[in-house]
Amino acid sequence: MTPSDEPLTVTDVRPDDTALRHARRARVLAEMEAADVDVLIVGREGNARYVSGAPRLWTAGSRSFGPGCVMVRATGAIHVLSTWDEGIPDDIPHENLYGISFNTMNFVKVLQNIDGAATARTVATDALTPGFAQLLPMAFPSAELVDGEEMMRRARRVKTSEEIDMIRASVRIAERALAEAEAALVAGTTERQLTGVFMEAMASAGVTTPAAQDVAWITSRDHPWRRANRDAPVAAGDLVAFDAGIVRHGYVGELGRTFRVEAIEVRAEPLANREVSARWDELWDRLLDACRPGAAMSDLLGAYEVTGVQAPPMPVARGLGLGFDPPLVTHALPGTAAAQRFEPGMVLALTAFAWQEGVGAVYGQEPVVVTATGPEPLSTNPFRDPRSSMT
């Protein structure tokens, strides 16, 4: 399904598209076979949706591990934590649904009753808690518990063409909501209010779930990344960074932009003439150049070094997909970045962040898909053009 085929209005809760589901499941099954995993248990929502194709209630914040979805290699059966069948794909029968529970022993019973649990030799989980580390052996007495997260990362790393379409559609909504927030950016407004404007626009566009709720940031003129109180008013001349991220049908669309608050004295001095702008442009060019298939992801970190731009506090690249998706490229994990290679079909949000004392920071985040010939931006208005022409 392409974005243009997607109905504008969604009035019922549907499972993910069949082609999308089948392509994803085939990848998971292939990974299970390659790693000789009999049963996969995932708790993370992105992993659970990747396997099941079922939308579930969105809640904010990290979640500790619980058996949200179970896949059995021998039968291909998928079991889902859902008390109802709304949104559940028709290839997951009612008997494979298990309900919300506050009693971990009831989860153990559900797992015990899954065909193949008693004899499973290898059970993979995407995370654990100390509690479930003790309980799972009761359901899988013959099994060794192994890493299922690494397996899911391998499956999810390269997107199917259907997934790229989904992300592109999510980016459209993020762009629309961001435009509303930008229109509300005037002196005197606050980060918290701008967040409210973005959220309202997002929901009005039919999407009620954000990727992040830290939407607006009045960058500091005195410190590279100091955050002020969220209720401090925007002042004329401030560079205000926006992190516009939404989750539509499970897929993240994310982009970052920096806008300047209009003021007569600032108009006299176009941002494009500032040192920070030139450095940002050079950094951005180098980040794009780094996204070549086969190259190491540490080249993204190198782009900051070569341009002499201080490493930012946030990751330089995040994978986009069903929720946040590795790779995570950050100066804090140089070895991890060096060990990973760009491949066609990866979708990344690239972050270019440059700061100048007395001016503030220019922050841009661009979703790109890596192709055989290099990165292709997924937004309709990549950051540079409007910013360069800004006077």
């Binding site: 009035t11 709304e86 919300i100 918290r192």
Partner: protein, 411 residues
């Protein structure tokens, strides 16, 4: 001065100070956590769960989608012999964190879902704890499982999450004051949404108004995709469920409301590190009819019966028994949920009342002053939908005091 509404008409609030003392709140918490650690012989707590980190450090940040939140998460380290917790966070220069921590207790970000991140973290941890220290954790990523040096000398690590679960069970007066403000913000937003409910309005439009207003009113984050569920008249007309009972909460879409729709509302926000909870039943475009009013009257009867036995020293089983008797012998709550649940840094936490943990647990759970309870009985009247609402209260020595202050309109 507005008139008290809902539960507030039944009891007054004397135990909640008008303003929280945040410094005292954090100090009291730190003392509790470290007392529990010493009782269990735990030398260090490593916490990854967002809300556990909020509780242990007092840090506040806008919670993100769980996908990102599981990878880019602040991490807390609490030492039994140090009054200040350590925070490992991406942005250290952040006034919004409202931190009172000494500078040498704030560190750069760590990434515990990556082998390299765990290795770097363990070397930092080695500077804080001795080699034979007992380190408890709340979550165990696969990368952490592979690292056996300091963190996990044991086959299965000690559960550090239980320390926080026990510590947060009883709220201090300052915590109650924060929670009440979070409820007020929620109620202000709900009032705006309520005014907008009409035929032709989409569920997502209600969400748009809710999200705009909570941030304007001071919320830190939304915590739940808001529920404005159009209830079927009969259970059989709704989705199939594992219990054969009502399916709820179902996701909101761009579905347009029509006159006579019975809406079950469920929302919550985060403020000062606490989650709020709100639930009511609304009717779209008309006044409730006689049958719907009878449902509400029955609901009040059940709620009153439960409130009559709610006090410090009562068991959860006392509450469920009162509810069942008032409902004429049936359990007036959804079997996949509960009659009531705790509320605090999490949207649902202990004490659970009437959950699938079981009747023996309910009989053993004794309410204590300072616990916060959300009571959410339902009345289902197959053929005419039903009534559901949630009221938040806190337990006192001689009873309870209301925290929700919102009318039952249009009932």
């Amino acid at each position: 001065m507005t008139q008290p509404a809902g539960l507030m008409t039944r009891a007054s609030t004397n135990h909640i100070p008008p303003e929280p003392d945040l410094e005292r709140m954090h100090r009291d918490r730190a003392e509790r956590v470290r007392t529990l650690m010493r009782e269990q012989g735990i030398d260090a707590l490593v916490l990854l769960g967002n809300t556990n980190v909020v509780y242990a450090t007092g840090a506040i940040w806008p919670l993100s989608d769980s996908g990102r939140a599981n990878f880019e998460q602040p991490v807390a380290v609490v030492l039994a012999d140090d009054e200040w917790p350590h925070l490992f966070s991406p942005v250290q220069e952040d006034d919004r964190l409202r931190l009172e921590l000494p500078a040498d207790h704030i560190h750069g970000p760590v990434y515990l879902d990556f082998d390299e991140g765990v290795q770097l973290f363990t070397s930092q941890l080695a500077d804080l704890v001795s080699g034979n220290a007992l380190v408890a954790i709340d979550e165990w990523t696969n990368a952490m499982r592979r690292e056996r040096s300091i963190l996990f000398a044991q086959d299965v690590p000690v559960d550090g999450g239980r320390v926080i679960s026990r510590s947060k069970l009883i709220k201090t007066r300052d915590e109650l004051a924060c929670m009440r403000e979070g409820l007020r913000i929620t109620e202000r937003a709900i009032a705006d949404v309520h005014a907008r409910v009409a035929p032709g309005v989409r569920q997502t439009d209600l969400t748009a108004t809710f999200l705009r207003t909570i941030f304007d009113a001071g919320a830190d984050a939304n915590i739940l995709d808001p529920i404005w569920q159009v209830m079927p008249s009969r259970i059989a007309d709704g989705p199939w469920t594992t219990t054969g009972d009502i399916a709820c909460p179902l996701l909101s879409t761009e579905r347009e409301l029509v006159e006579g729709d019975v809406l079950w509302v469920d929302t919550g926000i985060s403020y000062a590190g606490f989650h709020s909870d709100f639930g009511r039943t609304w009717i779209v475009g008309r006044e409730p009819d006689a049958r719907e009013r009878a449902q509400f009257d029955k609901w009040r009867e059940i709620m009153d019966a439960v409130l009559d036995v709610t006090r410090a020293g009562a068991t959860a089983a006392d509450l469920t028994a009162a509810a069942i008797t008032a409902a004429g012998g049936v359990k007036p709550w959804m079997p996949h949920f509960y009659l009531g649940h705790g509320l605090g840094i999490d949207s649902a936490e202990m004490p659970y009342v009437g959950s699938d943990i079981g009747e023996a647990f309910d009989a053993s759970l004794v309410l204590a002053a300072g616990m916060v309870l959300v009571l959410e009985p339902i009345v289902w009247d197959d053929g005419a939908a039903g009534y559901r609402a949630e009221d938040v209260l806190h337990i006192t020595e001689d009873g309870w005091e209301p925290m929700t202050d919102y009318p039952y309109d249009p009932f």
